[in-house]
């Protein structure tokens, strides 16, 4: 029972035609592809389309939910190519390699850029952080990472940090459960005025 199915259950019962879009972002080598694979394999697989653009992006759709994963690598060049996804995304999964201590500053910088982005800044988008590779000996704890990234400063978005091991799937479930609950909440509160 994974990403897609869980989302279906919780979200899609009454919103069959609206697409839920989740962005999976993080530096290269943080474990995004591994996380995506974990979910894809266990589910009845849907197709993967590889866009023709020259940067690292993976995309798959699952019963109305689209997942798009991006590498934060390459210096600024491709920035605007993935930023347009910010506007429409309903949730963000931010994957961090807990064992790459040297690049924690880069993670922090990217997170700041993300939080300051005009399409994200004022929106209540839930962010799930995976402190991935928790199995590595030199991995930082999720508490240390949260402190290092100043996560407690995020005040207008629900967020959560989970230690994970994308190779075994450990921790992924918990995180996803949290994210789905949050997205549902955001959807409901958004709809209230219309009703």
């Amino acid at each position: 029972m994974v990403f897609g199915k869980m989302f279906m259950k919780i979200l899609n019962k009454d919103r069959r035609n609206k697409q839920i879009s989740i962005l999976i972002i993080g530096l290269n080598n943080s474990g995004k592809s591994t996380i995506i694979n974990y979910f894809k394999n266990k589910d009845d697989r849907k197709f993967v389309s590889v866009p023709t653009i020259g940067f690292n992006v993976e995309h798959f759709e699952n019963q109305g939910i689209s997942f798009t994963a991006f590498d934060y690598s390459g210096q600024g060049r491709y920035r605007n190519l993935w930023e347009h996804h910010f506007k429409t995304c309903n949730g963000i999964v931010f994957v961090i390699d807990s064992s790459d201590r040297m690049r924690l500053v880069v993670v922090k910088d990217e997170l700041e850029l993300l939080l300051q982005h005009r399409d994200i800044k004022r929106r209540r988008v839930p962010i799930l952080f995976f402190a991935n590779k928790m199995d590595c000996i030199d991995a930082l704890s999720s508490v240390k990472i949260a402190a290092g990234l100043n996560l407690e400063k995020i005040d207008n978005k629900p967020w959560q940090i989970c230690s994970s091991n994308a190779l075994t799937g450990e921790g992924l479930q918990n995180g996803v459960q949290w994210l789905t609950a949050q997205i549902r909440e955001c959807q409901q509160t958004k709809e209230l005025p219309h009703e």
Partner: protein, 596 residues
């Protein structure tokens, strides 16, 4: 006081406890374990002499020391090299200590190479022959003869003999009855060039330079010397080296000497040539890979052509310590990073100060390039043993030079425009042109047609194979992004066109979709676009359906390879498309086909 904190760099590490003192030539960064995680290999240079413990050779993963071992002496250079093309491509480390080079594989020393001996004076050889044969008889006289020679010109054996007391000499000579007279120079610097293909991780050759001005080019596959040369024709003591190219094709080696000469050695030369004579020996020197100019840091920062012509120079405000090139091809700039004694680190693009920051103490060594998984990292080691790692921000933009009141040194100006005289050749040529006007015209015409044919061929080629998503034409800088959604057999192809110029509006564009009609049905073959304004992307959707056969199967000749749709962006009155791109279409879900 001006702002001394740069916003372009992220401080990944500032480790005051690193206890690492070294120099730039003893730092090398490589993919040591072949996992794309670049690590710093460095030999410690003890600043306080005499240091009791032997200097260390260390490997850093980020800020962690993952390997630490003793070196047999103080190193002069650390290099990483690739031996062969075998996978996995694991670099080896070469560390020069005195007259020898220690080679490490997996950080285990596995070979020691010692440079060939210098010439032994015939007089010295003769003296030793007599010493061994004649025994006691004439010791006194022979040793006095030896003493008349220049101490530094004799073998280490003779040096030892002279320094012994009379009572010890007999014993010493008996022990060395078959004397091996060797005179070894010291290796002062090393660098690498490629063996053949000039690409990262391709096999290298090691270039070794000795204090005695010998240059050796070594094939590290068998530790054989491929080429030997002299630094220059006169007496000089080499100090710094920088090189580029490959042994088999072409290479250049630049050497700077303690006497202030800068010499160049090219392929097949037996002796280098002096191209520049500096007032003061260079502290740092680098042959830039980008434009093959030579940047020298002495009292000022100077740039010379390969022929030794000064291109520009810039005075420095304080004593200079070291420098390194900072090429940033993605930003279209190439900079030089210079460290000053007062702890200021400055980045220059030619003579323009682009960026600067202050570090706590004096920087002794620096490196710029890959580190860890990052591509653009500046590593600084200070005199107090601090290790600083600064990562260039992805969003860094150096397009605006810093405003400073620094006076720019006058360029060595030779602005005289050489107007050719009406020479004999010129007159003759005019006559020829008059006489053979028709032939010249015909040749011109046929060449013109040839060129047009070539252009047409290239255009067809671009149409057929092109898959660029950027328009190469500078007049119309546009970018195409294609996305394909759906499970099939019906897809939604979304094309996003964006004008990436700053100000120019692009008009009269059309999209042409080209797909095999037996495979795909596309709702529109072409679309004329509204003018494209900078910064506002234009999104166009196309409904694409696979031409399913009556048995609900894919078209028979449809394969993974030919499941493509070509997208051309054309501009009115332009024969050549601005962008020709290929969208690889996903394979439809077979269950979905079944349900139709």
């Amino acid at each position: 006081m001006e702002e001394k904190k740069s916003t372009h760099w992220l401080d990944a590490l500032s480790d005051g406890s690193a206890g690492l003192t070294t120099i730039s030539s003893c730092m090398s960064v490589c993919d040591l374990q072949c996992n794309n995680y670049y690590k710093l290999v460095t030999a410690e240079i003890p600043l306080k002499i005499p240091e009791k413990r032997p200097p260390r050779l260390r490997v850093y993963k980020g800020n962690q020391v993952i390997n630490d071992q003793a070196l047999p002496g103080i190193a002069s250079s650390v290099q990483s090299l690739y031996i062969d093309e075998n996978e996995p491509k694991m670099p080896i480390i070469a560390v020069s200590v005195g007259p020898s080079i220690f080679f490490y594989r997996n950080m285990k020393a596995y070979f020691k190479y010692t440079i060939p001996s210098l010439m032994i004076e015939p007089l010295e050889q003769e003296i030793w022959r007599k010493l061994v044969v004649e025994r006691q008889v004439n010791y006194e006289k022979l040793i006095n003869d030896l003493k008349t020679m220049n101490f530094s010109q004799m073998s280490s054996l003779s040096q030892k003999l002279i320094s012994l007391s009379e009572s010890e000499r007999e014993e010493f000579i008996r022990e060395n009855s078959e004397p091996k007279l060797t005179r070894l120079s010291t290796i002062v610097c090393m660098t690498t060039i490629y063996k053949n293909i000039e690409e990262e991780k391709e096999p290298n050759c090691l270039i070794i330079v000795t204090e005695a001005s010998d240059i050796f080019i070594m094939d590290i596959q068998n530790f054989g010397i491929l080429h030997t040369a002299r630094v220059c024709s006169f007496k000089a003591t080499p100090d710094l080296i920088s090189a580029s190219g490959s042994y088999q094709n072409d290479y250049k080696i630049i050497i700077s000497t303690r006497e202030g000469s800068i010499c160049i050695l090219r392929k097949n030369w037996l002796e280098g040539r002096e191209i520049v004579k500096l007032e003061r020996a260079a502290t740092s020197m680098s042959l830039l890979q980008i434009d093959q100019t030579i940047v020298v840091l002495s009292k000022s920062l100077m740039c010379y052509s390969k022929k030794g012509k000064m291109l520009w120079s810039l005075n420095m405000n304080d004593t200079v310590m070291c420098m390194c090139p900072v090429p940033l091809p993605h930003l279209g700039v190439s900079m030089i990073c210079v460290a000053l004694k007062n702890g200021l680190v400055q980045l220059y693009s030619q003579k323009n100060l682009i960026d600067q920051f202050q570090v706590g103490d004096t920087v002794l060594a620096m490196y710029f390039g890959k580190l860890g998984l990052e591509e653009q990292v500046l590593v600084l080691v200070t005199i107090n043993g601090n290790l600083l790692i600064k990562i260039l921000k992805r969003t860094a933009d150096f397009s605006n030079p810093m405003v400073t009141d620094k006076k720019v040194e006058d360029e060595p100006s030779d602005m005289k425009i050489a107007i050719p005289k009406k020479s004999k050749i010129f007159v003759e040529q005019t006559v020829r042109e008059k006489e053979n006007a028709i032939a010249i015209h015909n040749i011109f015409q046929s060449e013109l047609w040839r060129m047009r044919l070539e252009a047409a061929k290239v255009t067809v080629d671009i149409l057929r194979t092109g898959d660029s998503t950027f328009s190469g034409d500078l007049q119309t800088p546009i970018k195409l992004l294609a996305q394909c959604d759906g499970l099939g057999p019906d897809f939604l192809l979304t094309l996003t066109l964006e004008n990436i110029s700053a100000t120019k509006i692009v008009t009269n564009l059309s999209i042409i979709i080209h797909a095999n009609p037996n495979h795909y049905k596309v709702d529109k073959q072409s679309v004329d676009l509204t003018p494209l304004v900078p910064g506002i992307p234009l999104i166009t959707d196309f409904n694409v359906s696979i031409q399913i056969t009556s048995e609900n199967l894919l078209p028979p000749d449809m394969t993974l390879e030919n499941s493509i749709i070509r997208v051309l962006i054309v501009k009115e009155k332009f024969a050549k498309p601005l962008i020709a791109s290929t969208v690889v279409m996903p394979q439809p879900e077979l269950q979905m086909l079944g349900t139709i």
